[in-house]
């Protein structure tokens, strides 16, 4: 019955209940909105990174990953690569492993030169595994007149004003330190939604890259991709077991910098949310105090009827919890549709990003919000808990009301 009373008390003054719940409403709304955004940011970025560049796992020679920024061609794979690719295909027939040679190069159209990341790949296999949009040309190496094909990221192509069929010279350093160059024809322009791909990368056939860099049948890394992220663990343990001498880097480690930026963002937002919740808390406490004060006689009467102090505390607390549920519920109801819409449509950050040649980590251009049930639950509970805490003091204070209060005129 106490619950019945508490519940109906909410409707005594609907406007007041709504107002009180208002601050919780706002807080929960923000919690859900920012939570979905941050998670979506992480997700989108990570997903794009996996989809267009890093796959679920990268395997390379010992120490390759720790020195990746130095673009050295000293640590390469040869025989192990063959073994790996072969046994991998047997073990995981439905998943893909692509050999790559990644190197630093300068690309020139005759007039302008800029630094890029060169990636030697098997075009047929690679472009099947890594889904990129083709904005011009074709993904297939056309068996023409001795022209070596090259594919370029869309933003890079735009900077050059390039179109399919244009010629480019790629200059690089072989693994022995000497300079080497060759001319290529732009076969196609790709777009991955990933700045590292779009702004910084050129792709060429693996064999040509190896020739250019004086690497006979050697590669720098193997990129493993699968349908499901969960499989990355299977890949890793398999690789650890059968090829322990090779270095591994999974997608989780690759995405760490992104997730760390998010940690910073989260910290800042948490502080601000804490503030808003504080305000909500004081507002609810205030209102409950006022409401209890208004109902002093009623409370006194209940005491006179024999309601215990703890019973009274429960009554007030339940009212607080209900307000919390109301506010959190409203917050959820208003935030969820917004967040769901944004999950599908996303926000485009592409126009804010310019590549700098030292961007070492992929970031997505289109961010899709990522609402999860867990987020909604967390936000909801936070709202309810705050409201409950807020009523603790009023409950305690009025629980001690003496029944005589009821009898004053």
């Amino acid at each position: 019955m106490i619950f019945k009373i508490a519940f109906r008390n909410l409707f005594r003054n609907v406007r007041r209940s709504l107002l009180t719940a208002g601050a919780v409403w706002i807080a929960v709304f923000i919690l859900i909105f920012t939570g979905a955004f941050l998670k979506g940011f992480e997700e989108s970025t990570v997903a794009v990174q996996i989809k267009t560049d890093t796959g679920l796992l990268r395997v390379a020679a010992r120490n390759y990953f720790s020195q990746e920024n130095e673009w050295s061609l000293d640590q390469t794979l040869k025989k192990e690569a063959e073994d790996f690719l072969q046994t991998f295909a047997e073990q995981f027939p439905r998943d893909k492993a692509d050999p790559r040679v990644t190197f630093r190069a300068d690309i020139s159209d005759g007039q302008f030169t800029t630094r890029v990341r060169g990636v030697g790949i098997n075009p047929d296999h690679f472009f099947q595994t890594f889904k990129m949009a083709l904005t011009q040309g074709s993904l297939k190496a056309s068996a023409e007149s001795g022209n070596i094909p090259l594919w370029m990221g869309a933003a890079l192509a735009k900077d050059f004003g390039a179109k399919a069929g244009d010629y480019f010279t790629l200059t690089a350093r072989t693994r022995h330190g000497s300079y080497t160059a060759n001319t290529f024809i732009l076969q196609g322009i790709v777009e991955g939604g990933n700045p590292v791909v779009d702004f910084l990368s050129v792709y060429l056939p693996l064999a040509e890259a190896q020739t250019l860099l004086d690497m006979s049948a050697e590669i720098t890394e193997i990129v493993v991709s699968g349908e499901r992220r969960k499989k990355s663990r299977a890949f890793e343990s398999w690789a650890a077991e059968h090829f322990p001498q090779l270095d591994r880097q999974n997608w989780v480690e690759e995405s760490r910098p992104i997730r760390e930026i998010n940690t910073v963002r989260r910290k800042v937002i948490r502080i601000l949310l804490g503030g808003i919740l504080l305000i909500a808390l004081s507002g609810i406490a205030n209102t409950m105090l006022m409401a209890c004060f208004e109902r002093k006689k009623e409370i006194g009467m209940m005491k006179a009827l024999g309601l215990s102090s703890s019973g009274l505390v429960s009554l007030i607390l339940i009212e607080g919890v209900l307000i919390g549920i109301l506010g959190a519920g409203l917050g959820f109801a208003t935030a969820w549709p917004v967040v769901l819409w944004l999950e599908v449509h996303g926000i485009n950050f592409g126009r804010f990003l310019e590549g700098s040649t030292s961007a070492a980590v992929s970031m997505a251009s289109q961010i899709f919000f990522f609402p999860t049930a867990w987020l909604a639950l967390r936000a909801f509970l936070t709202g309810v808990v705050v409201a409950s805490l807020a009523t603790l003091y009023p409950a305690w204070k009025f629980a001690k009301t003496h029944p005589l209060e009821a009898l004053r005129g």
Partner: protein, 403 residues
Amino acid sequence: MMLFSLLYRNMTRHRLRLFLTLFAIAVSVGLSFTGFSMFTGIEKDLLQGVLKTSGHVVVATQEYLAKSRFEPLVYSLPWDNRLAALLQNIPGVEKVSPRIRFGLLLDNGDKNEPFPAVGVDFEIEYADLVSMVAAGAIPRGETRNILLGRDAAAQLNLKPGDRVTLVGKTAFNSLTAEEAGISAILDLGAPQLNKVVVMPLPRAQSFLEMEGRVSVAQIYLHDFLAAPRVAEQILVSGVLPQDCGVESWKERSLIAGIYAIFHGVKRILVGLIMLAAGIGILNIMLLTFMERRKEIGVLRALGCTRSLVFITLSCEVLLQGIVGAAAGILWSIPLVRWLSIHGINLTAEGTKALPIPVKTVIHAQADPAFALLAFGLGVIVSLVASLWPIFKAGLIEPVEAMR
């Protein structure tokens, strides 16, 4: 006078209620103040860190601006003291820094590595260079020595006093090589910047066969927010040679985008804080005034006009707003001060993922203007939130006194 004592006594009648009202106001005002300071600090640190390398306003040839990614030396800007002086005289300009950006190969005898390089005027940049010295010293006067970023030096095992061979391509696309001594190692504060090679401008000009020319003139202002206006001014002033363009940082989408985001987020968050506070206050005020129906009824029965009731209650609210807002500023001042000195530490990992170089510690910008702004907002929100309750209270008829 009677009314004021009534006011005071009314307010203090319910100590706890008063406290909670003031608390709500104080928390929101304090948070807004902290929020303003923090965000502005972030803007300043982050943006200025970025803008330090690229300048607030950039003057270059149109073709260079269009193809700046390629750092095309061939599209250079003729440069002399006269032009420098003309630009310096434009109001708002603090520093005019001519620069050439190019790629350089450094060879220490054992191995060679490519690095980004920049030719700057050591005299103009002296103060900044000195602040970044990690080892060695910045040479004064004419010099042919170069400076190295910390990571570049580390990669090639170089220290001040060493000599190194420089290999590059001139503006006419021919290869050129020279030897140079290293005067100092610099720490430019961001991981991505520390691979740079800094060369004295005259030497760069001769090395690259660009005598009398530069790639860009990077202009720094007293207030980086005035950049678009100054850019406009430079354009219309006619000091620029033909085919030259001016670009303010706001036209560079990445930075402008980030700035816009910060600004937007700052405003939204403060708005939300104020909204939450406003709702709380509205609630409290409604309750308060409704509770005093009888009392107000009595006042009206005694002859108080509606407007007098309005005024009295408004004064109460105003007073509460002022006291609450003042309390809000007071409690947050130490916090803001602490934040402006110690700041918040962004982990190095986190900053590595950003495509722009940023400082790792962000400080709040303590500015009395913000305190005033937060204070004012607090008072206004209290008043606005109470408008309706006061209005309703004013409608109370004298007959309430009898109930």
